[in-house]
């Protein structure tokens, strides 16, 4: 038997940017597949167009200047897939391409490429789309429509710079019972109707206009956490603080405030907590910092949802969390052992 003596650091795995990013893309594939199954060709076109726009923007900015990274590191692919998953399935493709370009250009390239960005690029793209096209980004259509694999949602195919077709009348023309374009969060916010937790968790029942199933996202996130490619503390802190705050507010006014389950499983909280808040570049590296960061995002999400003008607040919560990351890291720096005088030495 041979004993090999090596000095620290003891690196047991060859995990690097490319390997981690590739694994994140793989873990996103089931979620994207489910999304295509829910919404058909429109969702597929949206995923493809937005991701291609991100890759094209990445290539453009890599050629333009001294950026770090390259097209093969999969990071732009992740940005594109995540961005497409946060947009409505019938989001006009030209707007999606625009959002993808802005995501890479304004969210990443302008700071110097991969590893230098302050904010999650996908959310920068979505934030721009939200500010530029507030109507289109709030227009959802029902999932599991019978003709979804053959017919596009009419708004998808809007010509560049043109207003998308009206989906409300298209949905009404389909004559399907119990179908409405309002998301569960919008129905809660504006109509006071709270969807059942199980429906939200699976995204399967009826024609709910929601994103991929939170259960599936959680499962894919567990795989990544198991492989060590995302830190479990951040999603746990985000979901935990959102659930705690919701549970604390729920007894005060059950008519007005939804139960914690609704808060966790509706909107984009699960996707945000598992895939966006955990972005390694824009989240803190210290364990205590991760808890603080996650708790901040969860609490902000609940506050924005409950008292903001828009029904959804995950995007802004994560962007604010990203902005707070440098400060969180500064106050949670671990002290090297021996550098602080102890009681004994001070005396």
């Amino acid at each position: 038997m041979t004993v090999e003596i090596r000095s620290a650091p003891h690196i047991k795995d060859d995990a690097g940017v490319v390997k981690i990013m590739r694994n994140v893309v793989w873990s996103l594939l089931p979620i994207c597949g489910f999304y295509v199954w829910q919404y058909g060709v429109s969702a597929l076109a949206s995923l493809v167009v937005v991701t291609c726009a991100c890759l094209a923007a990445e290539e453009f900015f890599l050629r333009l200047g001294r950026q770090s990274g390259d097209l093969g590191d999969w990071s732009a692919t992740i940005t594109g897939l995540l961005l497409a998953l946060t947009l409505p399935p019938g989001f006009p493709l030209w707007m999606g391409a625009m959002a993808g370009f802005v995501a890479i250009g304004l969210g990443k390239a302008i700071f110097g490429g991969i590893g230098h960005n302050l904010f999650n690029p996908a959310l920068v793209g979505r934030g721009f789309a939200q500010a530029a096209f507030p109507t289109a980004i709030a227009t959802y259509t029902p999932s599991f429509l019978p003709d979804r694999f053959t017919d596009f949602i009419p708004s998808s195919l809007a010509l560049p710079f043109m207003t998308p077709a009206d989906t409300a009348s298209w949905v009404a023309g389909l004559n399907i019972d119990g179908v409405s374009g309002a998301t569960p969060l919008a129905r809660w916010k504006f109509e006071g109707v709270i969807a059942s937790n199980w429906d939200l968790l699976t995204s399967l029942s009826g024609h709910l206009p929601v994103g991929p199933s939170p259960l599936l996202i959680l499962a894919c996130g567990l795989y990544l956490a198991y492989r060590g490619y995302l830190d479990w503390r951040i999603p746990v802190a985000v979901l935990g603080s959102a659930a705690l705050l919701a549970a604390a507010l729920y007894p005060l006014n059950p008519q007005h405030f939804p139960d914690p389950g609704f808060v966790l499983f509706s909107g984009g909280l699960m996707l945000g907590a598992v895939y966006m808040a955990t972005d390694m570049v824009t989240s803190p590296v210290t364990p205590l910092g991760m808890w603080l960061y996650g708790a901040l995002i969860g609490a902000l999400t609940v506050i924005i949802r409950y008292s903001g003008g828009l029904p959804e607040g995950v995007m802004y919560a994560i962007l604010i969390g990203n902005a707070a990351t440098p400060m969180i890291e500064r106050i949670t720096q671990p002290k090297a052992f021996g550098t602080e005088p102890t009681k004994e030495t001070r005396a």
Binding site: G65, A132, P134, A136, A158, F161
Partner: protein
């Protein structure tokens, strides 16, 4: 700045005039007068009128400051400049009110605020107070045109994307989808930053090319004397 140094020949009137258009463009190079630049550039017409108003104030004030530069005591020069500038701002204010009330309402307080535009005071202090009236006026007109051009460049992009029109003429027809963000304050910052980026890229490329030419010429000159530079 451009005060006459004994070592350098004073710039020609043409150089004075073109300085503000490119080399020292007030918005994209000196980054002065940001308040109107971001606030009134929602449309090309607003930008153009703001630019013309500022150009008038700038040229007239710089002429007067330059003509009076030997009479104005150093200790009270800023107050004197402000009185001169404020006079012309008041003239502009009433003139725009008389010409078009709609425009006056669209530009709002930003007409009066030309008095606080650091471009005007900056030119009076840095250039007009040290140069004869012709040079000062030409420089001020050039700066004003550079300012106007920059404002129209920002306002044009914001109007095209935010309203689908340019100087009020519809470009995309009635089905145009406006980009709401472009007529909001963030749009001003985005477009402004985009142009700044483009300007600095072009300038850096030009500088690098000039350096390379310099090096090539130096190499060509020394290659006769020594081998393999």
């Amino acid at each position: 700045m451009s005060e006459s140094s004994p070592l350098l020949a004073p710039p020609s009137t043409w150089e004075e005039f073109t300085e503000g258009l490119w080399k020292r463009n007030p918005v994209f190079v000196m980054v002065l007068g940001m308040c109107p630049t971001l606030a009134v550039t929602v449309s090309a017409v607003n930008s153009l009128s703001m630019g013309v108003a500022t150009t008038f104030v700038l040229a007239a004030s710089c002429f007067l400051v330059s003509a009076l530069r030997k009479l104005i005591p150093k200790e009270v020069r800023i107050a004197t400049y402000i009185v001169i500038i404020a006079t012309f701002v008041t003239v502009t204010d009433y003139a725009i009110q008389a010409i078009s009330l709609d425009l006056y309402e669209a530009l709002g307080a930003y007409i009066q605020l030309i008095v606080a535009n650091c471009l005007v005071l900056g030119r009076a202090e840095a250039h007009a107070a040290r140069n004869p009236p012709l040079a000062a006026t030409m420089n001020a007109i050039g700066m004003g045109l550079g300012f106007t051009l920059s404002l129209v460049m920002i306002g044009g992009v914001r109007e095209i994307l935010g309203a689908g029109a340019f100087f009020g003429f519809s470009l995309f027809g009635p089905n145009f989808q406006p980009w709401v963000v472009m007529v909001l304050p963030p749009g001003g910052f985005f477009v402004m930053a985009g142009w700044l980026l483009l300007f600095s890229i072009v300038r850096r490329r030009a500088q690098m090319r000039a350096q390379e030419n310099e090096r090539a010429r130096a190499a060509a000159e020394t290659s006769g004397a020594c081998h393999g530079a």
